[in-house]
Symmetry: C2
Subunit: 340 residues, 2 copies
DNA sequence: CTACGTCGGTTTAACGTAAAACTACGCCGC
DNA sequence: GCGGCGTAGTTTTACGTTAAACCGACGTAG
């Protein structure tokens, strides 16, 4: 009554187990039409389902791709409440599945214990989102699996990378705000890590300022964390700045918080302040006013990640570094200024 | 140079593989302190990592729990862009991990193909979110695994269930709105399935109305889908209703859309319309005005799901049906009426 | 008519781990 | 001084699958 195995099928179809294996795996050259039919019939009637553990054991592969995302710092919990990760993972999963791979999702914390447990499963490859600890990269190198880092500026031939040109994207966003007549543009962002995504965005912000002949004022950079709460808190900081009428937030989540914070302070958007986000998360349409933002097609990026890994595993060559394009989507949180 | 196995450890520690297996798995009675030390030393220096495929093959278990969520209808893609599922999964994962289980996430579509592939992996148990197809339940019964259905009213001894008392929750929400002076309360919701979550919420809504002596008007039920877009679309329907000043939405996602739609129609919230949601998703704080809603602690519910499954797998008995409590969280989208 | 190839298989062995049965040795009680 | 028992292991076998090597029969080229 237990699950049928290849041997059961072999018995039922009166062939050897090996022939069953061959047929099931499409190595049909080794069997006559008639045998194939008999085997497939038995497969159906006995409800045979392959045992991946056994397959994985002999093939030393698993068709599983591990996806690693950071935990929230306080709780030991996936960052899926951050829609950024949720949307990305949704994209990754659909592309992996379309290519016949499975996804195993794991958070990693300070210790890399979760990475170890993942590795017990013979993963074929890994995709890493938003983790920037050197210790993790060391462990990843030890595992020596095909690994795709998303939004990382680590330059190491052992990893594939997928990201956006953050400098150029931030440059475009800032230039867009300046073009709308805002000469005082604040930057609201998370912590700025050396050679991290945000640092490159800061560079783009500065370049746009310089190009427009606007002096860079460090006080206009409000740096906290990539959370709604920080955005809400930053509203007070923004209001305290002189001659500042616009804010470029390096994440929609921050922008959403900033909108809420500004509302609480009785400010009107976009009349009093223009706010721009980054990511084009689904929440950017839900906030009020709907957020003008930089679209980096997170879902598409996730799908691309899945496709890249599939290509790598199929020995099709994949570029070591890939970039997705970025576009500004105009909604209601930015006003034309000066033309009043 | 390949990954070290139990045999390598055995060789290095000069014992038999079985002793290594015993020590690694904590069956220490069978080994002397000194041997244990030697083995653990070899484990460390050789960087031994267990091979789960092999373990799973012999034990016919995997320590993996499959989590099943529906695809979006149009694309073949996980519903993680719906924060409801994202938050739930985050909770499930953390509880499973805390109990030493792994999570394998899979969407399922119309065909149950994805369930089949999941089952190839020797899952120890399954958690099913938001899928209501009879055909799926049939396949689940065939698999005969411990299975936890979340938010399902299927009454079948082969499944465990976790949910909220939807009737009572909707009753409370509606009563709350009535208590605020709104005698015209609309219900904005997704499709109403027989014996589904929403139907029970409709019942609660009706009971509150009846209790307050307010006649039930079917026109006040606006039924579409559980999406932001439907909420936005429903705004026009709401405005067209006479004597209606409040809307109870059966999901925060719908409520968020409704707010956006009402804004577009120039309505003010909560002055012109009071809007109430359900779920207390993270987005409910992000919309404007912040949403008064029914909290069903989705994260906690997910964690409870993970703990329930762990308990079942550890042969601790778990109740066949569990319910989480619900609370109204008051924010800014509901006004007191009549007291003006 | 013999050597070779091809078709349609089968046999053997191996992947890493663990349950179950077995062993060797020392000790203790009577 | 022999049976029984506990300690610290070992040996054997099996889990389901597949790679690699093998095999017999038949056709056919030289």
């Amino acid at each position: 009554m237990a699950r049928a195995t290849i041997k059961d099928i072999a018995l039922a179809a009166n062939v050897s187990p090996m022939t069953v294996s061959n047929v099931i795996n499409g190595r049909r050259a080794k069997a006559s039409e008639e045998t194939i039919e008999r085997i497939m019939g038995a497969v159906k009637t006995l409800g045979y389902r392959p045992n991946m553990s056994a397959r994985s054991l002999v093939s030393n592969a698993s068709r599983m791709v591990g996806v690693i995302i950071p935990f929230t710092e306080n709780q030991n919990q996936l960052l899926l409440d951050n829609p950024f990760y949720a949307e990305m993972i949704s994209g990754i999963e659909s592309a992996l599945r379309a290519n016949g791979y499975y996804m195993m999702l794991s958070g990693v914390g300070e210790s890399n214990a979760q990475l170890d447990t993942l590795s017990h499963w013979n993963m074929d490859a890994l995709i890493v989102l938003g983790v920037y600890r050197e210790a993790l990269y060391d462990r990843l190198r030890e595992l020596a699996l095909p690994t795709l880092l998303i939004d990382s500026y680590i330059d190491d031939p052992s990893f594939y990378r997928l990201g956006v040109d953050d400098e150029a994207a931030a440059y475009r966003a800032t230039k867009y705000l300046i073009g709308k007549g805002h000469s005082g543009v604040a930057l609201v962002t998370g912590v700025i890590r050396t050679d991290g995504v945000i640092e490159h965005r800061v560079d783009g912000y500065k370049r746009a300022l310089a190009e427009a002949g606007i002096g860079f004022d460090p006080a206009r950079i409000l740096s906290g964390s990539v959370t709604f709460d920080w955005g809400a808190e930053a509203a007070a900081g923004l209001v305290a700045l002189r001659d500042t009428t616009a804010a470029f937030c390096t994440a929609d989540l921050i922008a959403a918080g900033l909108l809420a914070g500004l509302h609480r302070l009785g400010k009107r958007i976009p009349e009093d302040y223009s706010v721009m986000g980054f990511d084009n998360l689904s929440i950017s349409r839900m906030v009020y006013p709907a957020l003008t933002t930089v679209d980096q097609s997170i879902l598409g990026k996730g799908q691309l990640a899945g496709r890249l890994i599939s290509a790598i595993l199929n020995k099709t060559d994949a570029p070591r570094d890939s970039f997705v394009d970025v576009a500004i989507v105009e909604r209601d949180s930015v006003s034309q200024r000066g033309a009043r």
